[in-house]
């Protein structure tokens, strides 16, 4: 049984009376035990919202009007309050984009650990100062920080260190799944690479499932087993990471891949994706990517494509699906 199974998740955001923005539409997400999955898309595509929805961290004015989320067999979409809190221990955790914003600036790091561990303590747990300090030191070591960090305040640490502390705090509850929401976006390239390496190693060592949310497909492909691409609130492609760099994909994925290049090459060409994503407060007709897509056909304007199989995964593109189907047929004839 998959660790996380979400079906038909919809999230609507209502910032003011009369305004409704469908941030996530009909998302199906399946994560197996120990799998590392990436969720990629431009800003505003709903990836963070989906990540928050899956960990039940949505706050008004966002809400999930429909959808099922089964975590380890339990439907967590309907849990609330104390039950939800209990599900978080040994369940799932969330690591956010900006370490600075997620850490309390007037508390030492040690105090952060104490807060998290005592908030989720089960009766009989040892909460003595020594025990907590030892546990915190273990966790800090796992994220490659030294114990001296415990007595520091968040503003005394660099961005990379703060992010590692956030990761350590997430690990402290021994979750089965961690959602990383743009964990390295605010960091510079070298620190970003180091933190991502740490995340990868931890995931491999401890075997938790992980969802990595990012706008940077390059970073995600280097870390994850499988990638889901989101556009305008929908998941438009779902493939193993190893096949992303070649072959045919959803035109949006292909456009994103064009935004990367090797700076050492003799000729460097960089693509961008012109146009803007659609207005999510309006109902959409047909494929939401059609206005920006070079492969648009008549059917794209009228029918919203489902996730067609596009071996080895799936992609929501009428044109690509047809091409793959034709190839199959030609192949079988030969």
């Amino acid at each position: 049984m998959a660790l996380l199974e979400a079906r038909g998740v919809n999230v609507v955001y209502e910032p003011a009376r009369g305004q409704r923005i469908w941030s996530v539409r009909e998302a199906d997400v399946t994560i197996e035990q120990g799998e590392f999955v990436g969720l990629v898309g431009e800003s505003g595509c709903g990836k963070s919202t989906l990540g928050f929805a899956l960990t039940r961290m949505l706050r008004p004015p966002a809400r999930m009007p429909s959808g099922q989320i089964r975590f380890d067999g339990t439907d967590i979409a309907s849990l609330s309050g104390e039950q939800l809190r209990r599900a978080r221990r040994g369940g799932f955790a969330l690591v956010l984009q900006s370490g600075m914003n997620a850490l309390n600036p007037v508390r030492t790091i040690e105090r952060h650990f104490r807060d998290v561990l005592s908030a989720h303590a089960r009766p009989g747990d040892d909460l003595s100062r020594d025990r907590i300090r030892r546990r915190a030191a273990e966790l800090l070591e796992a994220v490659r920080l030294e114990q001296a960090v415990l007595s520091r305040f968040p503003h005394e640490l660099s961005g990379g260190m703060r992010q590692r502390v956030s990761i350590a705090l997430a690990l402290s509850l021994q979750p089965r799944m961690i959602v990383f929401d743009e964990p390295t976006t605010a960091l510079d390239v070298i620190v970003q690479q180091a933190v991502m390496d740490t995340i990868k190693d931890l995931q491999r060592e401890r075997g938790f499932s992980a969802i990595l949310i990012s706008h940077d497909l390059g970073v995600v492909l280097e870390a994850t087993d499988r990638v889901m691409i989101m556009y305008a609130g929908r998941i438009v492609e779902d493939q193993p990471a190893r096949v992303m760099a070649h072959g045919l994909h959803h035109p949006y994925t292909e456009a994103m891949l064009d935004c990367y290049a090797d700076p050492r090459a003799d000729v460097v060409k960089l693509g961008g994706i012109p146009g803007t994503p659609p207005d999510l407060s309006l109902p959409n007709v047909g494929c939401s990517y059609a206005p920006r897509c070079p492969l648009t056909e008549e059917i794209c304007r009228t029918q919203d494509p489902p996730l067609y199989p596009l071996a080895p995964g799936r992609a929501a593109c009428h044109v690509r699906a047809r091409m793959a189907h034709v190839e199959e047929e030609v192949g079988s004839v030969r």
Binding site: S158, V189, P263
Partner: protein, 297 residues
């Protein structure tokens, strides 16, 4: 303004040392004896991770911070000695494109107001003249129809659009040198090419000099002719961009190259062998955070 009127920017032996008050009194050297030149119409890149001193250098070049030693000359003006009146004159000629497209725009001012002000302040234009110029500038940066964008507020624009507004603002005073401080690092990857192409285009058509500051070697490769790699305030490598990237000699440059996320790279080992990963958390001397040494001023 024709090319031969644009003076070179000369940075000679510039250092910046901060006295840090606090638990332990110590000095922090943000920039250590850096020298380089930006020839008229050239595009030079300052590349490094955070703590390398590149932002401090940018601030010294634009007059926000005074160097502790060394000299910065833009044509016949010595930048380090300027006070407020002189700084204002400097800003007429040396403009900056900021990193955070949302933070650098006043959330309560329309696009038109933001782009108008330098035209009025530096070019002495009346409000009506400035508005016409704003329309031209918005078209130049690709925000068309200009009339529609002029009335917008920052929260109504996307990140790429905001960055274009910032570029239009920088062009308002008809500058000779533009210092772009990580202009695309806060944008989605898909939006970067557009803004970079705009900068390259502007440089070509207007004969501007460009000082491009970044930690991302890919964008540096696209825009700059020559680069300087900074590590802990010192220049560790310099040369023609393509050459430096294809044949790097310094360990730090190699680390930066390896850090560029590239889905098409077959291996991350890069050139010159040992990748500085594996076991250590941060790459060597990239970020002296553990030793509490580095601050990006």
């Amino acid at each position: 303004m024709s090319d031969n009127e644009v003076p070179p920017l000369t940075v000679s032996g510039v250092s910046k040392v901060y006295q840090v008050r606090g638990r332990d009194r110590r000095t922090v050297t943000a920039v250590d004896d850096v020298s380089f030149e930006v020839a008229p119409g050239a595009a030079v890149g300052l590349v490094g991770a955070s703590g390398s001193g590149k932002s401090t250098l940018a601030k010294m070049i634009t007059g926000s911070v005074r160097p502790t030693s060394g000299e910065i000359r833009f044509g016949d003006t010595s930048v380090g000695q300027l006070r407020s009146a002189g700084l204002r004159k400097l800003h007429h000629r040396v403009q900056m494109v900021f990193q955070d497209p949302y933070g650098a725009l006043n959330p309560l001012h329309t696009v038109e107001y933001t782009v108008m002000r330098p035209c009025q302040n530096f070019l002495g234009m009346s409000a009506a003249q400035a508005r016409d110029r704003v329309a031209e500038l918005l078209e130049t940066v690709g925000l068309v129809p200009a009339g529609q964008y002029a009335a917008k507020l920052p929260h109504q624009l996307s990140g790429g659009q905001r960055q274009r507004v910032l570029i239009a603002r920088a062009l308002g005073s008809d500058p000779e040198l533009i210092v772009a401080d990580e202009p695309v690092s806060m944008l989605d990857v898909s939006l970067r090419a557009g803004v970079l192409k705009l900068l390259a285009e502007l440089r070509r058509t207007r004969g501007l000099s460009l000082l491009y500051i970044t930690h991302d070697l890919l964008s540096a490769r696209l825009i700059t002719d020559e680069i300087l790699v900074l590590n802990q305030g010192r220049v560790v490598e310099r040369g023609q961009t393509k050459q430096v990237l294809q044949l790097p000699t310094d360990k730090y440059t190699i680390a930066l190259l390896n850090a560029v996320a590239n889905p098409f790279a077959t291996s991350r080992g890069g050139l010159g062998g040992s990748s500085p990963r594996g076991g250590t958390d941060e790459a060597p001397s990239a970020n002296g955070s553990k030793a509490n040494g580095r601050r990006t001023a």
